[in-house]
Symmetry: C2
């Protein structure tokens, strides 16, 4: 049988309370007593019983991490950032993959509620963040990452997506592109929308404007990128093709590049392409993809840190929430945007 705190107490010749105090450093204990206790713990191989501890403290010391797709390097890096921060504090984590499906997200959240996690870092499937609201109702602390939730009571960690859109567009302008198109992401996702806003603003700053014939939409998948280019070529059969394309994420951008190849459109010769996220694939394809990257690991770590603060201040009876942290992004220049004019 597993030894309990009583066994340790007996072996050390002290009371269970003293053992508890030694383990949790929750009150001063005489050096000599402490030694007796730690020795007893050692020799019995005692480990505290999670269930009893949690029942007594009404806290699981487990934190949830929700993302739409764990196999997307953007999110697996985000997860690593958050996990490292949690593990540092001896806290455990439950990772949930919603596959971008709101239904699955709800089920995952039900699981986290059942497990009575102490808090959640979430990139919701939908921007609106139905799931996040659910957690808010349950009074489980949440920090939103890479999504702007509706409530401004919710602490949020974001990349500067509008700035990213501006950077990508500005880069193509500098490279000499004159007709720059945009492939938008899913309508519900704030990230995608903000990138588009950046594109529009970059054009307007130079007194250009976004031509409807050069704009289409995808759903962040590879194949939707392929379809997007097809649709675009259809649209501007008369007005003439774009010479540059900003694509709302890398995976779609890769789709665009593949389709361009099929259509004998040279990238970057005929069409310069920029994506967002800097996934592994972007370095592997031919031509390599120019993209805008966010400090994903730090975003995850920061989100976890803010969540921990929030949990802590809840315990102190304070309630500080609704913070907003925005991280700057960075243009990663690769082959897909290298026109002759450099």
């Amino acid at each position: 049988m597993e030894p309990t705190i009583l066994d340790v107490a007996e072996k050390a010749g002290v009371s269970p309370s003293t053992v508890s105090r030694v383990i949790n450093e929750t009150a001063p204990v005489a050096e000599a007593t402490k030694k007796k206790v730690t020795d007893a713990i050692e020799s019995l191989g005692y480990r505290t019983n999670k269930f009893a501890h949690a029942l007594r403290k009404q806290s699981s010391n487990v934190f949830g991490i929700i993302v739409p797709d764990i196999s997307n390097p953007f999110f697996s890096t985000l997860i690593r950032g958050a996990e490292d921060r949690f593990h540092e504090g001896g806290l455990s984590t439950m990772i949930c993959d919603t596959k971008g499906e709101p239904k699955k997200e709800i089920r995952n959240i039900e699981m986290l509620v059942k497990e009575r996690v102490d808090g959640v870092v979430a990139t919701s499937a939908e921007s609106a963040g139905n799931g996040i609201n659910r957690l808010f109702e349950e009074e489980i602390p949440v920090v939103a990452v890479d999504r702007s939730p509706t409530s401004n009571e919710i602490t949020t960690v974001l990349a500067d997506n509008e700035g990213s859109g501006k950077k990508a567009t500005g880069h193509l302008l500098e490279k000499g592109c004159r007709r720059i198109g945009f492939v938008r992401g899913p309508s519900g996702v704030s990230t995608a929308h903000e990138r588009f806003t950046g594109y529009v603003n970059a054009l307007e700053e130079r007194e250009l404007h976004a031509d409807d014939d050069l704009i289409t939409q995808g759903d962040f998948t590879f194949s939707s990128g392929k379809r997007a280019l097809e649709r675009l070529r259809e649209k501007n059969r008369n007005s003439g093709p774009p010479d540059g394309l900003v694509v709302a994420n890398d995976l779609m951008a890769v789709g665009v590049i593949r389709k361009a190849e099929e259509l004998n459109v040279k990238v970057p010769g005929d069409l310069a392409v920029v994506g967002f996220d800097d996934i592994l694939l972007s370095k592997l394809i031919n031509p390599t993809l120019t993209t805008v990257s966010a400090p994903t690991y730090r975003m995850g770590a920061t989100a976890a840190g803010l969540l921990l603060n929030e949990v802590e201040s809840n315990r102190m009876g304070r309630a500080d929430r609704g913070k907003r942290v925005v991280f700057a992004t960075e243009l990663v220049e690769r082959e897909s945007s290298q026109l002759g004019g450099g």
Copy 2:
């Protein structure tokens, strides 16, 4: 305050034991009483307290899933298979990403032990499965997936890797390749070794034999694939280059293809390439990659199912373990192996 089972009992005018019996269906309860109880539960919004339940039952109803890399589609699919099976039974899961580092694996396992999970499905970082042994010591039921553990007491779910190696090699032989090389995976990984064995056997069956000049090793990463081809060209400067290459996983195979491009070696014209795993990337690169795929989702689901059986039989005092399930694999023919001779 959260309602407890006592509140429900009071509201329904019954004893707490009866409420428990209704919730857990652990003993017959009169229809009328049951209704009173469920009504009370409903109106109070009662939910059972995980901590108290777990303490009493000495069981967390949580299962661990350990993989070397969650962003590898092979493993994220495996995870999905296992998770679906667990969630079906109302069980929760903790996913652990070891990044292929034994040290991280140990830390993850410590976490699972601390959380007192009821069982673990594990693809260990090392084949030897140090971590898995640790779980075995702790008497936590384990099922190994995609790795042959040392102990044959441990239930194992595998793909037929040797068969895969044979299939890949046989395919190139049929396509007319005469000098077929192999890029091996990390030495500690049984999967990689078995694929190589299949290659050797396929050659021997046709009374050919593996030429040392055509064999090199990588570590499953993209860049190690690039280096592998370089090294190979170095090695057979005199003996002549291979006309076909079996590469122990897709990611390295993609590296090989990219490097071939740099060296002006045409794939598949000069060099046919086959990989293993059928990751997403294999469909996206140019040329698309011929590969051997395993029924990953089913492997995950099967592993979870076997684990659940094992846990169940432990509870009944039986001990059935050490089963071994091997799944057949399938060749996915794409462009990288289409020689003129079809």
